[in-house]
Subunit: 541 residues, 2 copies
């Protein structure tokens, strides 16, 4: 850690002003001092362990000093992923890196260490033996705090009986163990507690044992710990696949992926639920959806577009399915004749999505289901389409009267979901031909009855997940509709004007990524499918 590196030019060699050089010198000194302090602390930790007795194996365990973690060298060593450890590797020496999930001392001479990497776990065995494992090594290992990062080297062995406490059915007979980064000794959440299902807690309670239940807020306060559970590892890998399948399907259908601005003048769709801010002295707000700009991209001749990006809603919604910031999956496309062309895309896109998820994400869905049991989604090869009136009729036949020109509330959505499941055997369906009055101003009215509109909602497990429609593409009609809905046309003039230079008939839809994952896996709260959720009370971590 010398500060006299040979290829470092001397200050006097360059032409910068003296002040800058001096301040850099000071910064350099300070950085060197900090580093020495950190290295000394690390060295002290190693010493503390080996003080008991001079251990000839002392170099085989201990805390790795900071400087060895600063890209000091490339050794060419290879690490094996915990998830890939299997019987085929029996007898081989492997090096794994992961977290010390649990450490159990059987005696002074023997200990078990469970190492976890990306949700997979392996049991590592330390058993005192001359020239291989020392008492000091066992002591060091049993002193590791949970969740610390470790490197473990050893030989793969296959035990006679199945290993209950780890996902991999081999063990590592440890020869070296090093700590890379220490976790604080008292964790605010234990991963086992966070990974436990309600069923386990209830069963234990019946057997007289009170297990820890980690509540939602605590999880979110310590999200980096909570995210380490197998179910969360699964949820966000599924989410990544949802987006990936969405994109690949649309690209294969000739859609262009775009990015529209989130900073806009005025409010994106009217209404008061916008986050306002000052934009270089101009009033601005965060886009509540890419609606206006994705339509403008259609006016810009891209034909078919999609966007994946954040959507901001300043609503005071404290429900299980609303967030102040979520990831919108948006689609907009020219239509030739009918908004059914948009519903055709929804139909094929989602059937493809569900098929691929079930196929590619088996492990992840299993991990999620273990903590949050759910039945696989029931869906048809060809998605069911009902008109809004047919939906109203179904509810009526079941004794539920709703306003035929109003909207469905959460309760009637759920009830209709049940009725549709009973009658048609699907938990995924499209309801279309909605009353115009309950749709946004840019929705195209029906040609045969302007009380209704060329619009649709899509439901999964009785909850609305998609909203879509044909849009008004004629500027004067659009302005009239905006006014009729109480929107000041001046605030959306760049949008309305976009249609004055010729615009094709078009339509589209929007989906919330977090909702897709939540409802596909029948999770009970959208906060479970947002990496760092934002709601009216939460803006951290």
């Amino acid at each position: 850690m010398s500060s006299d590196a040979p290829n470092q030019p001397k200050p006097e060699e360059d032409g910068v002003n003296v002040d800058a050089t001096q301040s850099k010198k000071a910064a350099k000194k300070e950085a060197a001092k900090q580093q020495k302090r950190a290295a000394a602390a690390a060295a002290a930790a190693v010493t503390a362990i080996s003080l008991d007795a001079p251990d000839p194996l002392a170099a085989h365990y201990g805390d790795i000093p900071l400087e060895d973690l600063q890209s000091k060298s490339v050794t060419g060593r290879e690490w094996t992923e915990v998830g890939s450890l299997a019987e085929g590797l029996e007898g081989r020496t492997v090096l794994v890196r992961g977290r010390a999930q649990t450490v159990r001392a059987v005696s002074k001479k023997m200990a078990f260490l469970i190492v976890r990497e990306k949700g997979f776990t392996v049991q590592c065995v330390l058993s005192v033996s001359p020239d291989v494992v020392s008492l000091g090594m066992v002591k060091f290992t049993t002193g590791l705090s949970r969740e610390s990062y470790v490197d473990v080297e050893g030989t793969v062995s296959v035990p006679n009986s199945p290993i209950k406490g780890a996902s991999q059915q081999v063990e590592i007979q440890v020869r070296k163990v090093y700590c890379i980064s220490k976790a604080v000794p008292a964790l605010p959440i234990n991963i086992e507690d966070a990974a436990r299902s309600e069923l386990e807690i209830d069963k234990a309670l019946q057997a007289g044992e009170q297990l820890v239940r980690v509540n939602q807020d605590t999880r979110l306060n310590f999200r980096v710990l909570d995210l380490r559970t197998p179910s969360n590892q699964g949820i966000f890998r599924v989410q990544c696949q949802v987006e990936n399948i969405f994109r690949q399907f649309l690209l294969s259908e000739g859609f262009v992926g775009i990015h529209t601005p989130k900073l806009i003048a005025g409010s994106s769709e009217g209404g008061s639920a916008v986050f306002r801010l000052d934009y270089k002295g101009q009033p601005a707000c965060l886009a509540q959806s890419p609606q206006l700009h994705k339509q403008m991209a259609i006016c810009g001749d891209f034909g078919r577009v999609f966007e994946v990006g954040p959507v901001f809603r300043a609503e005071d919604s404290f429900t299980h399915r609303h967030l102040c910031e979520f990831t919108g999956l948006d689609v907009e496309m020219e239509i030739k004749e009918h908004y059914s062309e948009v519903m055709d895309i929804v139909d094929r896109l989602f059937v493809e999505l569900f098929d691929r998820l079930n196929e590619r994400c088996q492990k992840e869905l299993e991990a999620i289901g273990k903590q949050y049991p759910f039945e696989p989604l029931k869906y048809l090869r060809k998605t069911l389409r009902l008109t809004f009136q047919e939906g109203v009729q179904l509810l009526k036949e079941a004794g539920i009267e709703i306003d035929p020109l109003g909207d469905l509330n959460t309760e009637s959505e759920r009830k209709l979901g049940q009725l549709v499941l009973e009658k048609y055997g699907t938990e995924f369906y499209i309801l279309h031909h909605y009353p115009l009055a309950v749709r946004p101003f840019y929705t195209m009215p029906c040609s045969d009855d302007p009380t209704y509109s060329n619009s649709f909602d899509v439901f999964i497990r009785g909850e609305e997940i998609i909203s879509g429609a044909q849009r008004v593409h004629l500027p004067d009609f659009l302005a009239t509709r905006a006014e009729a809905c109480g929107i000041d046309v001046k605030t959306i003039s760049t949008y309305v004007d976009s249609f004055r230079y010729g615009a094709p008939p078009h339509g589209g839809f929007g989906v919330g990524l977090e909702r897709v994952v939540m409802l596909f896996c029948a999770l009970n709260n959208i906060r479970k499918t947002s990496l760092f959720p934002r709601d009216p009370l939460r803006i951290a971590p």
Copy 2:
């Protein structure tokens, strides 16, 4: 357009309150009225044309009334894409939809109409002939305003000589032509003007002809028109592919795509260039990068993550390469030993990206090059890596002295790019081992000399495009570094605390999507590669 649709329940049949029903009735009446007005206007337009003389072919041309564009019916007709029109279709009847790019009347009896769809164009011929084309049809067509949306039906023919004014080398002998949506007669920008290269303008000037040059601001004010040029159609399709290749490469390397919040408490990396806002009574700001949260995802055990999303910078930068909102491509990954592991990913990712772009986007790159000529990017199969000191030395040898512990300014970046190109034959290279003082607080210092850091920048055509580094993963050292850089640790406590529960060595990098496209195509302004750019003076359209 009756308001007595049979399956529409009567208001008295349901249990809603009278007020709601009445307001809906009123809304329904109003909507019906609006629609009638729009239909009447459309009908009037048709009438105006056919008034001259009763035309037996009147049904074969005219403006399509609104109601026929409201998803009235599905006829089963098929539209052919303009881009797919070729000699193989000779003699076939086709229906195309696109924009009336130009209309030229040869006589009262003959006219040419160029129809454009997604940048492709076809010449449509109208020639008066009994029972096929009437004088009225020619008159209607020559009266179409530019950029109006039209449906054209006719027979594909192959002319004897090449067609200069259109991309497709076949013609359509028109039998039917309808206008779907009219553009205003006086467009603020003509597409031919917007699509013209500087070279064409200069050449014309030498020949004594003054052609219209559309300046950048006018383009952006009327972006939906500007986006229709072949070069812009190309730019945003290339951009979509950049993102797609980026994602597919990383997914294949085991990265997980994530979405981190854009609304955060405090400022994401310190500094004053943040957009501030009120978040439900709490002070908040827009993320200047996903830096902190992508590192937290690493602490959450995702191993390797990437994110594509908006990045907000409130800087007063009026340069050719800064925007207030752009699309960040971010990567973060565990490293085993050395930050070269991160540079390895950069290397392979970008070589793959350039290869695939050249392979898949030939047409698009050609369209861009026609308006903005550029040389294909020169890059090596294995990306060149120079240390910062080597860069300083190269500049010194060329007579340029720069601060060896400072940063490169735009001018020295460009100069170094030239020197590297001359010496190594590449316009894409990595410069690493930067002085610590010019890097953010979370950058890991070098083990051998804390004046330097485990960091790198990447350059394309002499401009910085990527910044990356190993990060400090030890919380106390991180807090010390933040303080040393003048950052109030309290404001980033959730971030620093994330490392207290064990954290692996890790590193990553960030790229601007718009910059990649700009520099790959050697464009001179980042506003050309942002769909709806945001700079200190622009928040619309």
